[in-house]
Point group: C2
Chain length 216, copies 2
DNA sequence: GATATGTTGTGAAATAATGCACTTTATGCT
DNA sequence: AGCATAAAGTGCATTATTTCACAACATATC
């Protein structure tokens, strides 16, 4: 629990920096300048320097940033130095894809349990992850000390399932349903709304005259 | 091509309003106030009124907004009054889930063509969508007048495939790969980075003391 | 050691987004 | 018809974010 004065916009960019630093490190690069990094991650170099500066003086003037130590720093900051277990609720179309993918690569997040109501799949193991029935959810979440879940259930049941999750002590939900679920204070929702993303893209294509590249 | 003075932040919220208005309309509701809408979509009521006001006076003082006409207005604004065909590149794990889902519901976006290199699946039809081999991509995109694609190929080939897409005249890419691809001016990229979303969520859980609810 | 070079870290300006609080105006009730 | 009420639309203050541009300083070169 360090400095919580980090702007939201900065916090959202940290994973992007982290990933690219990993790639740089693996390619054997020893140092990187904000300008070079800017090119790769499509964020203005001044923004990068400002972002980094919230965490102190991470670079050396006239030299740039040391890839290894910057990588280590962000690994710690993003809690990627220890494994975080998350659960997946709803192993359907999308849930199955996420389960299969399971954030492999240079990552320290793992789906370690999945839940569903469909008794044709509960009790089985998919991609190494056991699928439990819903009536075991609370028990398993508590036992496995899981605080973060990925929600991929049909939207009509999303609020009901969310309520159960909250009573099970969950603190964060990555919500793929289009429903804006209600939760008490202290529970964080991160919405991923794919239909929105597509509609927004189409909107910009039809309404922005001055062509602009990337977003987010 | 109307007024392009709409703030980005507002534009990103339009699909959220649109979807909720559809739900309201289907439930038979005739009118809605900004306060009531705010509750459902988790956006401050003043922000909603401001957002709407960029498009003119859409409501009636003392009454609220007429659900039907607001819905119609946003349908037009979001180009949901006509069908938009999009293509999917890379029918793997994630691509398959999206193909299967195909944005059904009250939506006017359809994946009408898919592409892959794997000759075990090219030539087949999945969820009603034909999967073409990559050497037919340019031809098909031009012929079907597709301007928007969903990119779900492995990240090592993402830049190469993107270059092909650009030469095929694509104007928008919904990019699910973690790579920040390079495109010329005039092509819009909307990045959806699921690993980022999860890492950001975990970051906030560990670093924000004052509990705050929703995001985005 | 002195000088040239490159790149950070940051003050300050510019831009963007939010939200308060008030004015205005339509509606519904008596 | 008149009055009370509700809620939109908006000026403005506040807050957040980005970007410019430069002084400060580390490193490399001679
Ligand atoms: N599939 C996509 O590509 C896609 C894209 C955008 C949004 N979404 C959203 O993601 C969510 C899931 O979509 P999907 O296509 O995977 O749906 P799906 O129907 O394929 O899968 C839903 C899964 O949830 C399970 N389930 C149903 N009720 C449950 C309950 N009460 N408790 C636990 N599990 C329950 C079902 O058994 C099923 O396995 C939906 O809200 C959808 O709108 C999906
Ligand atoms: N699956 C997920 O849940 C998930 C989550 C986050 C990010 N992603 C990202 O989405 C992308 C796709 O992930 P995935 O899990 O579906 O991968 P995948 O390997 O299952 O699917 C990739 C598909 O692309 C095809 N392909 C390979 N090279 C191609 C080429 N040159 N041209 C056209 N098609 C080609 C493959 O044949 C395969 O069908 C990756 O970049 C991944 O990082 C996936």
């Amino acid at each position: 629990m360090i400095n919580s004065k980090i702007p939201q916009a900065t916090a959202k960019r940290l994973p992007i920096y982290y990933r690219y630093l990993g790639i740089l490190y693996n390619s054997g690069k020893k140092r990187i300048s904000s300008t070079e990094l800017a090119e790769a991650v499509k964020v203005d170099s001044a923004t990068i320097r400002r972002d980094f500066s919230y965490f102190g003086a991470l670079g050396k003037r006239g030299y740039g940033y040391d890839v290894k130590s910057l990588l280590d720093f962000f690994k710690k900051t993003l809690n990627q130095d220890k494994l975080t277990n998350v659960a997946l609720i709803g192993v359907g179309n999308l849930g199955h894809a996420l389960l299969n993918y399971n954030f492999h690569g240079s990552n320290n997040v793992r789906i370690s349990a999945a839940f569903d109501i469909d008794d044709r799949i509960t009790g089985t193991i998919q991609s190494g992850v056991p699928i439990y029935p819903m009536n075991e959810m609370k028990e398993q979440l508590v036992e496995q000390q899981i605080e973060v879940v990925i929600l991929t259930v049909p939207s009509p049941v999303a609020q009901r399932v969310t309520d159960e999750l909250v009573t099970a002590g969950i603190r964060g939900i990555l919500n793929f349903t289009p429903l804006r679920v209600n939760v008490q204070d202290g529970v964080r929702i991160q919405n991923v709304d794919l239909t929105n993303e597509l509609q927004t893209l189409i909107y910009f294509l039809n309404h922005v005259d001055q062509p602009q590249a990337s977003t987010k």
